[in-house]
């Protein structure tokens, strides 16, 4: 599985938000997107998952142009999981029903067949005793872990994470980052928009600094965090570090 973005452009009305993004994601890679608020991180992730149509450029999944207008987004989204800042669990379903909905409907699997598959996921992320709880009975950190399990249950080939710890109380951030470390250890391909610079530095293969809809600078964390080439990168890092 390889995801390639070529000169991706996107505007909301007259406001350009992505202004020519080039990016290649290969299996097992972990890419962190950093940048100021409004630089286009969320929009970029949403375009990769075809939640937003792009205006120009191409997105290729294993060489197939998935961004072509009219391309069916459903099979693409089944291969690309996404987790959001605000969890977005379905409030009228228990945690385990949240997780089983998509496999049930998309793959036609029965609850009975799915349970033995999803139970270990809950156990692995410390939620074995929370499966039958409703979202409003769970803490933010627990909800976000359920949201990750929900995406993983579709066995995606790549996971997109949009600032998934930003809405959490500081003491809950760690438990969610631990899940990401775990996935990293298993070799999951991941793209993260994040404000957790320490985390990006620890785990990313590549850090991309987004500035006004462009990738201004990209490279291994050591390069971006220690010897940034661009003045704007240095200015951003001095503000957040």
């Amino acid at each position: 599985m390889t995801l390639v973005l070529e000169n991706v452009q996107k505007a909301f009305g007259d406001v350009p938000v992505l202004r020519g993004i080039d990016l290649t994601i290969v299996p097992g890679q972990m890419i962190c997107l950093i940048g100021a608020s409004g630089s286009g991180k969320s929009t970029l992730l949403r375009c990769m998952n075809l939640l937003e149509p792009i205006d120009d450029g191409r997105i290729l999944l294993d060489g197939v142009e998935i961004s072509e207008p009219g391309h069916d987004p459903q099979p693409v989204r089944q291969r690309i999981g996404m987790v959001f800042q605000s969890y977005n669990l379905f409030p009228h379903m228990t945690a385990v029903e949240n997780v089983m909905l998509a496999p049930r409907r998309v793959h036609g699997q029965s609850r009975a067949a799915l349970r033995p598959r999803v139970e270990p996921l809950f156990a692995r992320f410390g939620l074995a005793d929370r499966m039958e709880h409703y979202p409003d009975q769970l803490s933010g950190g627990q909800q976000q872990r359920v949201a990750i399990i929900r995406a993983l249950a579709m066995r995606p080939e790549i996971m997109l994470f949009d600032e998934i710890t930003s809405a959490l109380d500081p003491e809950l951030v760690g438990e969610v980052l631990d899940v990401l470390r775990h996935l990293r250890g298993e070799g999951m391909t991941m793209v993260l928009a994040t404000h957790e610079m320490g985390f990006a530095r620890e785990l990313a293969d590549t850090v991309c600094f987004l500035d006004q809809g462009r990738i201004l600078e990209a490279g291994p964390p050591s390069q971006i965090f220690e010897t940034p080439q661009e003045a704007r990168t240095r200015a951003f890092l001095s503000r957040v570090l």
Partner: protein
């Protein structure tokens, strides 16, 4: 929060409890004064004796009340067969109204037209047009029954209202829920069926309850095209006894149903408002 308000503990709770007692006392006294004035003054009015005989006649009330209750069973029956059909048709209209597939545009336009027409007409007019119009075609039994066509008129009108209420519920479900469902690879119709509609319908339960309370009252309108339900039965008794008390009896029977139902709907609405804030 948490502590029992009837056992005030903090300074603030003691103060609020005292304020509450004062408010209750003043409210009770003024209500009693007004009731007393009505009870004492109204009988002094010159026409009271006549009004009492014609509207508040205990004898007529006792004689007609069982018959009225019996007639009300028909109101309830009509309500019971209309309500599920209204719910189904209203839901179908709400979904059709939101269709985005170009091939289904005719269906969407039909739903929009239907809703506009039946929300825009007085209920009684629809009952007359359908309830007199269609049997007027000279259809054979049972297709000339006023029950059938009168009920259909109620169903069409109320389905249009229910559709609009459900649609407002659909629109109140945040886009992030749709996005999350789509990102899992669910189809558009599955997103609607499993994620959006269940949340939307839960939110509009109180509003729909209010509509169904209104429906229970509007069943009485069918009396204009034939069925001897409670309102019509009261009219029959009025002529028989030359007395309006049966209407009072009918009113009491309606209130016995609608006031508790309205209170319950309000209670549900308050609970939802609290749950969301």
């Amino acid at each position: 929060m948490g502590s029992n308000p009837s056992y005030p503990r903090t300074k603030r709770q003691i103060y609020e409890a005292r304020q509450r007692r004062r408010a209750n006392l003043i409210g009770g006294l003024s209500t009693a004064a007004v009731l007393m004035a009505i009870v004492l003054l109204v009988p002094l009015a010159p026409g009271w004796a006549a009004v009492k005989r014609v509207f508040f006649n205990g004898e007529v009330f006792a004689k007609t009340f069982p018959g009225l209750l019996n007639a009300f069973l028909l109101d309830i029956a009509i309500f019971l067969w209309c309500a599920p059909l209204i719910a189904v048709l209203g839901l179908a209209l709400a979904i059709a109204r939101d269709l985005r597939t170009p091939a289904l545009t005719p269906l969407r336009l039909a739903a929009v037209g239907f809703i506009d027409v039946f929300r825009g007409l007085p209920v009684i007019l629809v009952i007359y047009l359908i309830g007199f119009g269609i049997p007027g075609l000279g259809l054979p039994r049972p297709w000339n029954s006023p029950y059938l066509w009168g009920s259909l008129a109620l169903i069409l009108v109320y389905a249009a209202y229910v559709a609009e209420v459900i649609r407002s519920g659909i629109e109140s479900v945040h886009d992030s829920q749709r996005n999350a469902a789509l990102s899992l690879g669910l189809s558009g119709s599955d997103v609607m069926r499993f994620v959006v509609l269940p949340q939307a319908i839960r939110r509009v339960v109180p509003a729909n309850m209010n509509l169904f309370i209104a429906l229970q009252k509007d069943v009485a309108l069918l009396s204009f095209i034939g069925p001897v339900e409670i309102f019509r039965q009261a009219g029959v008794y009025k002529s028989l006894y030359a007395n309006f008390t049966p209407y009072l009896g009918a009113a009491l029977i309606f209130l016995a149903i609608t006031i508790p139902a309205t209170r319950y709907a309000d209670h549900l609405m308050n609970r939802q408002r609290k749950a969301r804030s």
